[in-house]
């Protein structure tokens, strides 16, 4: 507006303004507001909340409404916007991390006979890191800005930590693949890089659980103690199975077998722990029992159990081993998708948020407060005041 008073104003402008006042300042029509940069393809249906079904009308009070109110059954927190590439990454990243780690152990303690296994682990780790990066970038709303992930380091954000871990692990693994087999100082650099990547492999397999737990999604937050252990043991089982599916020598099989078996047992045990953590509040545990996520979760548990059972059964036939490893891989993948979709379903259910917090899974879990935000006791039944 101040521009028009400056030198840009012509005599005609001034005359017109004086005469009829109709020449509106074009600056008024410029879209410069904070939200005007939002890209819109289709204004109709642009807002996802409108598609949601209203579960009950307030005038038709339901019997349980008094103890468990909600705003027309609408979600209290936002559903994750992530797509299929995230649960896939949860699997791939875990496999890459666990494989790199086994590679380091084989290199350091396995002697020359296990050198080939170490190298194969290094390759699996590198390929996993590369695929992970592609999957993560594919999920971004603005993929061309993926480098912004490395713009800052924010210790409070598991995603920031994870980006650095993945970048570090990918870079070091690549260096290892390129240099580790060379003689002289280049080999030393390559082997150190591979060792660094292997150490980063452990947080790479585990941080993804922190990434999920560090959210307001009720079921993810409620399982914040068991989920990291589950993801890490599942990664071990999946990496062991994948390496066993790849061609390998009989003496290498003797290393791979205990690795994948330990992982499979740990995965089953920690899987039970995850379900138990969620089961503290019935509404929170719901997605693991019903719907798509419930079916996926059950499938994953059955596949993992069958994979372990088939593996320990006597018999040396090739198909038996392949079937066991395929089942474990399917179980690990299904578990990631189950946890992912359970989170989506959990965020959609306002009672998962409300009842979880009423039963002590909110700030009370860390802060020990006994009062809710309205100054009354957290737990129902609340004193009826009217």
């Amino acid at each position: 507006m101040s521009d028009s008073n400056g030198n840009g104003e012509t005599l005609l402008d001034r005359l017109q303004r004086k005469r009829d006042g109709r020449n509106v300042d074009p600056a008024l029509g410029v879209l410069s507001g904070e939200g005007s940069q939002q890209r819109v393809k289709d204004p109709e249906g642009a807002y996802p909340a409108h598609g949601q079904q209203v579960t009950h009308l307030p005038s038709r009070a339901e019997p349980q409404r008094e103890d468990a109110p909600s705003y027309y059954g609408l979600p209290a927190v936002k559903e994750p916007v992530w797509i299929w590439s995230i649960p896939t990454y949860l699997y791939v990243g875990g496999v890459a991390g666990a494989a790199s780690l086994l590679g380091l152990a084989a290199d350091v303690m396995g002697g020359p006979r296990l050198a080939k296994l170490g190298r194969r682990c290094l390759w699996v780790g590198t390929a996993g890191d590369m695929i992970s990066t592609v999957l993560l970038i594919h999920d971004l709303g603005r993929p061309e800005r993926f480098l912004n992930m490395l713009r800052v380091f924010r210790p409070t954000s598991p995603m920031s930590i994870g980006s650095w871990v993945l970048a570090g692990s990918g870079g070091l693994n690549t260096l290892g693949v390129l240099l580790a087999h060379r003689p002289g100082w280049m080999g030393v650099v390559g082997r150190s890089a591979a060792a660094g990547a292997a150490v980063l492999g452990m947080p790479l397999a585990g941080y993804t659980a922190v990434l999920l737990c560090n959210t307001s999604v009720p079921i993810w937050q409620a399982t914040h103690r068991a989920l990291p252990l589950f993801f890490m043991s599942s990664a071990t089982a999946a990496a062991g199975s994948l390496l066993s599916l790849l061609p390998h020598a009989p003496h290498e099989a003797r290393v791979l077998r205990p690795y994948r078996l330990a992982g499979k047992v740990a995965e089953l045990v920690t899987g039970v722990a995850v379900a138990r953590d969620a089961a503290r509040v019935s509404e929170v545990a719901r997605p693991l029992k019903e719907g798509v996520s419930g079916a996926l979760w059950k499938t994953s548990r059955v596949c993992s159990a069958a994979g372990l059972l088939l593996d320990v059964l006597p018999g040396r036939s090739r198909w038996k081993h392949v079937a066991a490893d395929v089942l474990t891989t399917a179980g690990a993948l299904a578990a990631r998708f189950a946890i992912f979709h359970a989170g989506k379903a959990s965020a959609r259910n306002p009672q998962a948020t409300f009842q979880g917090q009423r039963q002590g899974l909110g700030a009370a879990e860390v802060k020990g407060n006994t009062l809710a935000a309205d100054g009354k006791p957290l737990k129902f039944p609340l004193p009826v005041l009217r």
């Binding site: 507001g33 939200g35 005007s36 939002q38 890209r39 204004p43 642009a46 807002y47 307030p58 468990a68 705003y71 609408l74 209290a76 936002k78 916007v81 780690l101 086994l102 084989a106 303690m109 971004l140 709303g141 603005r142 800005r145 912004n148 992930m149 713009r151 800052v152 924010r154 409070t156 995603m159 980006s163 452990m202 659980a209 922190v210 990434l211 560090n214 959210t215 307001s216 999604v217 937050q221 990291p228 252990l229 993801f231 003496h251 003797r254 290393v255 791979l256 205990p258 306002p350 917090q357 909110g362 700030a363 009370a364 802060k367 407060n369 935000a373 309205d374 100054g375 005041l385 009217r386």
Partner: protein
Amino acid sequence: MGQKGFFTDTTLCIGCKACEVACKQWNQLPDDGFHFTGMSYDNTGALGASTWRHVAFVERPVPLTGLTKGGIDFSWLMMSDVCKHCQRAGCLEACPTGAIIRTEFDTVYVQPDVCNGCGYCVVGCPFGVISRREEDGRAWKCTLCYDRLGEGMTPACAKACPTESIAFGDLDDLHARAENRVRKLHEQGMTDAYLYGKDAENQPGTGGLNAFFLLVDKPEVYSLPPDPVVPTMKGKRTWGMVALGALGMAAMAVGSVLLGREARS
């Protein structure tokens, strides 16, 4: 500068939605489409990427406490919801790019030119405020009219509110004002009135909200969580479990190599 915020007194809200309109207009936010929810006078639904103020309409089959005249067994609760600009903001602590910052007015602001749309803030918010617009690919939320504040102006919603249900100002002034209001309401018999998220004592999980509310029913009735927590507060425990898991993974890797090696000899 100083700490700025909103005090939204829901007992004064008449549900005119002037705040929604003013916000849309000032920030030139895109259309949400003309939809009919069929549930109440609320056809907006919830806060989102292009809805930074949302008026909730709660229809209750009970009278307001302290209401003695008229004998109506019915009451409306209306609340203009907005981003809370938490003292410990879940979105800010989750943002991996540094796109979300705390401004000189102690508000939380998303820089659209930095955001890469990772979607982590969307699940980081304990109130379900911030959201990503699918076509746009970036996260958006209330800026507390950062552009207006810079010019010493009142945010558009507070400016447009005809009943001063939305009060804008320095946080200390707002706290005093809110406490006075609660005292007055209690004297008048509306003993249900309380402040939601005034400070860290009231809401330890968020450290207090810069945009806090005066409510007269349970928070859930307004779609507000009863005991919200910034997820990062539980981060230490989770990372501890990762450390434990790392030990386990290392033990499994080393153990199987040793086992496999010994079996050979």
